[in-house]
Subunit: 771 residues, 2 copies
């Protein structure tokens, strides 16, 4: 843990006291999003201290020309960057002619931020004395509307504390923004129009190269002690800014309030030449509703989200705050409405990593969205990959694969690969497996088979073709091998026969063959269409089957474990706990070669295979592998603790499971990795949810039924969660003594608890003893 | 072969006819150098066509901030770039008011370049009709003085062919130059002074960051039909240029000649505030001598170099031209006078690769310089590394090594590592072995032991310490292993137990232990000094010995061969000849992962070990390994064909040896790799020399004596070479029927020919039958 300034609270994230060095961290933690856009918790007013400015629009990106030291054949031409969008939240504040800037105030008291996760709003309040000795009290409330997702709202209130004062608000739009993350310091935006009409203003700007057209807009109203001031503001326009000047002299004790609505209309949703009229329409709607009523809508909409996705924890405020923080930010990032969007690793909270889509989506996020929303949301995420199939085939072609083999990208915005380290881009190919696994997992959880004949099977065929071609035959071993890969543990590069990769490759082929048969039998029309499109022959599938059948897996007979890769046992096998604490984290202290030849594991690798395919192995096998690999694991990926927490719980090692849980759920709140100022770890937040539901709750799908093995950490009095399983809503509550199942709806549902069949009746509580 | 426009000639490189698309290639091929400075064969007059401008000063570099896609711990902060230096060769030419530019002339006839390698000068001549219909005949002669190595000389002659003409010469200096190779388009030079005095001019400029101060200077004289024109030129100065304006109206048939001397004085050789006075002194010397006499000196100095280093070949002009081209450029690049300099991979012919020193120096160049110059030159190259020992220890420390372990850099200018690909920088550690091997080889060849107690042993101790720490113990194998390396074959990265690396590591340790004992016994004072400096204990050397003794080597019992690395036999072992020609060269056609998982070998790897340690293996073992590895070798490194040529000759496969010889000797002349426009492959030129001397001549040192196994390619009538072995000059001539040995000096010398002892008497020819 690197910080602990966030107050423990069940429903809110709260910071008290103004510390300049915390500003960037808090800008990340208090970020707002509504699935369509979002922004860091930057101050509205001018701030000359250290800050990381960021506003983001879902799906709007820039292809930044690749920068490498040494070019390798096959590298992508660009890296799709998350794009800092024009700023609509800015409101400069002048008090008796002096600009409010918390960095230069003589005194800042009672500074407080609150991110109310239950209701979806953020406030900031403080009392400040400016260099000109005017003291003011400020309260700002901000939210991004879930119901009108092109719009956000800000209420900025100032009270004159020590004297009659002349107050001015200068709300503005600014498209002269830059990215912190840029390879060549290029300008990403081209501004084509800055206009103002009364209290409304519009900036039209499009991204360079990708040509996403946007209209950033605002409309502001001034209130003096709650009474609207009707004078029209003065205007000041530049090439990239539009400013309105509101001014009012007020008495000591009076309050002046600016209500500002703003946001974006984008050419992904409107015709490019109708962006201003769309913006006016959006503004008309929300100004008619008004700030307070819009906020009431907001509370209701968030209540609906929480109704289904909340996890309660009694007896452990920090754990409770942690899980809600994770669930809240996941919902701020992605709501599943738009199949063109995905779950970026930093969501709307930062620029790092670029791209929007990693294998995190399939491996970690889909289970969360399937269980807390509905199959449509998960299906949208699968459809996203189906829509990128052509690009995945093109990616594979660039690497020399033929005949429709598909390699999904490591990082992407539009389906094209963006990443540019050969050991990742070209070799971390296991990502293809996770995409196939998600198809399997989607059907397993939702029982919606239609995705497979309609779209999924084509994806599976592309993936199976890739594995078939990527495996090569070793005469020496008389087996198929997969050489030169990087597994999930990125602290190994260019290894041979990574167990996880080989295992999922074999599984992908077998699963594709199985689904081919099912579609042939059950959906003959789709089958013929797919055979027509893919030109798949029987010879070809027979060849696939050979590869799957003769796949090689490195295994040590003496230890009885699968090796992470060929040669793993040649390493100096010194467990992590014997490392000098000063050498941690090794990715900051050691050179890359030293990390590579060490046995240290960044995140679950062999164990990731045991997580996906738990039912292929006995608990004893899991235990043996967990005991062998976890001691070498440094958990320096945000995706590591959750899988280990789930497996520790499965092995009934509750102290260890709880420690991993805390680490995953409060990774950002407590800033374990000293980097929260760069943004939050959004995708790993879904892993936190899994730690409770699959870890402590022991939820699985076995033989087509939900199954639970509930356990509770000794630090907790109870916890509860809900899942939407095949359109049945089931609430599970676990206390020290018992587990309660509440089934919504009308019919019965049969589940398994601790291995025993239990029939739940809707509306009736069912009890089952724990331990 | 990609081009064949160079006329075959025994002593000259000749181009006839003006082809714009050949200009950049010829700029490389016709480059001039004198060990201290050099430049590409850029035109003196203005040229608006495609050109690659390059002038270089030995040892003057710029630390260009590292550019990578993803930063890894331990990467160097900068890459030391070969620096395009201020231009002193420029002479703009105006003919009847119009600027001569071969790119825009109406007509260019009789264009001819000649690089006379025997005498060390370069001429260019042509007849051109300008757009204004004036026709002129031009002859330019240029050379860089070997005797006054701060100075070069140009004689630029114009004859008016079709009309009386007004001619003007504008000789200039220009420090407003840029590098083609730059990471961030930074300005590398800061010009501090531009001055002119009569017909002399000076530009003072220093490199940014490294602060090398230079004075670029010139002095010009005008001659009308060989009579000096005494009018002083007009001057025109800018921030970064100094121009003199010479003008003369001449009659049809008359000749106007500008003689220009120019060059650099540098703060590495003078006090920074005395650069102009040093320049004046240099100019005074050469102007007193005059152009023609200076050229006569040049011819004599080159004759001296050829006297010792020439290789003659009868019956094969292309082969003769090739070897002389190689020897000529090696001598232009490095003459061994200055132990601060080294042999850059592109010499003074281009910027690519940056840095000046690679393991090429030790593995390929030292044998050439030892045999064709004297031990002092080779010793200077070894001293260069001794002077960098502290930096090598620092490099190792950055990678986590302790206790004085030294890792010499992959690429360097000043001892610091410059390279920035983790798989090379951190893992291509075998380079350390070549540096130790060169010490061994130096003593073996020169019998000068003093380098070892004085300097070499400290280097060896640093290297042995590195290998001891870099090897790790595999409990599984009960052997020491070296994990995560890149061998000489850079088409494999991060492999385990590369045979070559493990072998040279073991050898380094054993050799260091042996030399420690020898120095202890024979040079006790040095020994105690070294023990004091290195704090070496007996415990430590015992630990080293354990690693050497239990070093692991991958070996396949069935094939009876050492494996290039663990797992090599798991690859799809399809020989190169079965590859589709369209897929070659694979480094341009395949993505990196495909190359890595293929069996294809860029340059000798296991066979490089067999080359260095030939006497450790039987000829049958060599044959077996050659037969196994060569068929997988694509020779896509310029350093590959020479080693294979030597080994093919050793195995008496003369056709193959000859084919490899042609490829190495005419690599640049025939532009095998389609890249000669970027500069020449200087270091591999030493390999060409080895192909003849060690390959066809079969020269070895066995049991402290020179030994020969002469063979001759059937395409040749004869060949001859000279070697300076321990200050005895021996000339060897091989014809189809016999080998002649000519020994200079007074005493006898005993050698071995085809395994038999032969006693040579100085002054008497000794014959021995071939075959």
């Amino acid at each position: 843990m690197n910080q602990d300034y966030i107050k423990p609270d069940n429903w809110s994230i709260i910071e008290e006291g103004f510390e300049k060095e915390r500003v960037k961290s808090s800008e990340s933690l208090f970020s707002l999003g509504n699935g369509a856009m979002g922004q860091r918790a930057n101050f509205e007013e001018k701030y000359t201290g250290s800050t990381f400015q960021g506003s983001y629009i879902g799906g709007v990106y820039y292809p930044d020309k690749t920068r490498v030291g040494w070019w390798k054949n096959g590298y992508p031409e660009y890296f799709a960057k998350v794009l800092n969008a024009p700023n609509w939240i800015g409101i400069n504040v002048l008090v008796n002619g002096e600009t409010l800037d918390l960095n230069t105030c003589k005194n800042v008291r009672d500074f407080r931020r609150e991110l109310n996760m239950q209701e979806g709003w953020y406030t900031r309040s403080f009392m400040a004395t400016l260099p000109n000795d005017t003291t003011i009290e400020v309260l700002i409330t901000r939210f991004l509307s879930l119901d009108h997702d092109e719009v956000g709202a800000i209420k900025y209130q100032i009270r004159a504390i020590n004297q009659d004062s002349s107050m001015a608000f200068h709300p503005y739009l600014d498209s002269g923004i830059t990215n912190e993350d840029t390879n060549w310091d290029e300008q990403f935006w081209n501004t084509t129009g800055v206009t103002t009409e009364g209290s409304q203003a519009f900036i039209e700007a499009h991204t360079m190269k990708t040509n996403f057209a946007t209209c950033t807009f605002m409309e502001s109203r001034l209130y003096h002690n709650n009474e609207m001031v009707t004078e029209k503001p003065l205007e000041a326009l530049s090439d990239t800014t539009a400013v309105h000047h509101f001014k009012k002299d007020i008495k000591k004790g009076d309050t002046l309030t600016l209500v500002k609505f703003g946001g974006y209309t984008v050419s992904t949703n409107h015709k490019p030449n109708e962006l201003i009229s769309a913006a006016k329409e959006a503004l008309q709607k929300v100004t008619e509703i008004g700030f307070e009523a819009l906020l009431e809508q907001q509370k209701k909409s968030w209540a609906k989200i929480w109704e289904m996705s909340d996890i309660t924890i009694e007896g452990d405020v920090k754990a409770q705050q942690g899980i809600r923080f994770n669930i809240f930010h996941l919902n701020q990032t992605y709501l599943g409405k738009d199949s063109r969007l995905n779950i970026g690793p930093k969501g709307f909270t930062g620029e790092k990593y670029g791209g929007s889509t990693y294998w995190d989506t399939e491996a970690y996020c889909i289970p969360f969205y399937m269980a807390t929303k509905n199959k449509k949301v998960a299906r949208n995420l699968l459809t996203y990959r189906y829509n990128h199939l052509e690009k995945a085939i093109e990616n594979a072609r660039k690497l020399g694969f033929v005949n429709g083999a598909a390699l999904y990208p490591m990082v992407t915005m539009n389906g094209e690969e963006c990443h540019n380290e050969w050991e990742i881009t070209f070799e971390e190919i296991h990502r293809n497996g996770a995409i196939a696994f998600a198809i399997y997992n989607y059907y397993r959880f939702t029982s919606d088979y239609t995705y497979i004949p309609e779209m999924g099977l084509e994806v599976l065929i592309g993936i199976a073709r890739f594995w078939h071609q990527r495996a090569t035959f070793s005469t020496q071993k008389n087996k198929y091998v997969i050489l030169g890969v990087t597994g999930p543990n990125e602290y190994e590069n260019n290894v041979n026969n990574n167990f996880y990769t080989n295992y999922i490759a074999k599984w992908c082929i077998n699963y594709t063959l199985q689904e081919l048969q099912k579609v042939k039998d059950g959906y003959p029309d789709d089958y013929h269409r797919i055979i027509g499109v893919t030109k798949l022959s029987e010879n070809e599938t027979e060849d696939w089957a050979k590869v799957a059948k003769k796949m090689y897996f490195p295994f040590d007979e003496k230890l009885g474990i699968y090796l992470q890769q060929d040669g793993f046992l040649d390493k100096e096998l010194i467990p992590v706990k014997k490392l000098n604490q000063k050498e941690r984290p090794i990715n900051q202290k050691w050179s890359w070669d030293r990390i590579l030849r060490s046995p240290y594991i960044k995140q679950a690798d062999t164990l990731q295979g045991f997580y996906f395919f738990e039912d292929h192995f006995t608990t004893e096998e899991l235990e043996k592998h967990f005991d062998f690999y976890e001691p070498f694991t440094v958990h320096e990926s945000s995706l590591s603790p959750c899988v280990h927490s789930i497996q520790a719980a499965k092995l009934n090692r509750m102290d260890q499971a709880y420690a991993f849980y805390l680490r995953t759920s409060r990774l950002d709140l407590d800033d374990y990795n000293k980097e929260v100022k760069e943004g939050l770890h959004i995708t790993s937040m879904a892993g936190t949810w899994m730690s409770i539901v699959e870890g402590f709750g022991g939820m699985r799908i076995l033989e087509d039924k939900l199954s639970f093995t509930p356990r509770i950490p000794k630090q907790w009095k109870s916890y509860s969660f809900k899942v939407n399983f095949r359109n049945r809503i089931l609430k599970v509550k676990v206390t020290e003594n018992e587990t309660t199942f509440d089934l919504e709806g009308t019919d019965e549902m049969s589940i398994r608890v601790n291995g025993k069949r239990v029939v739940l009746t809707a509306g009736q509580k069912t009890y089952s003893l724990v331990n």
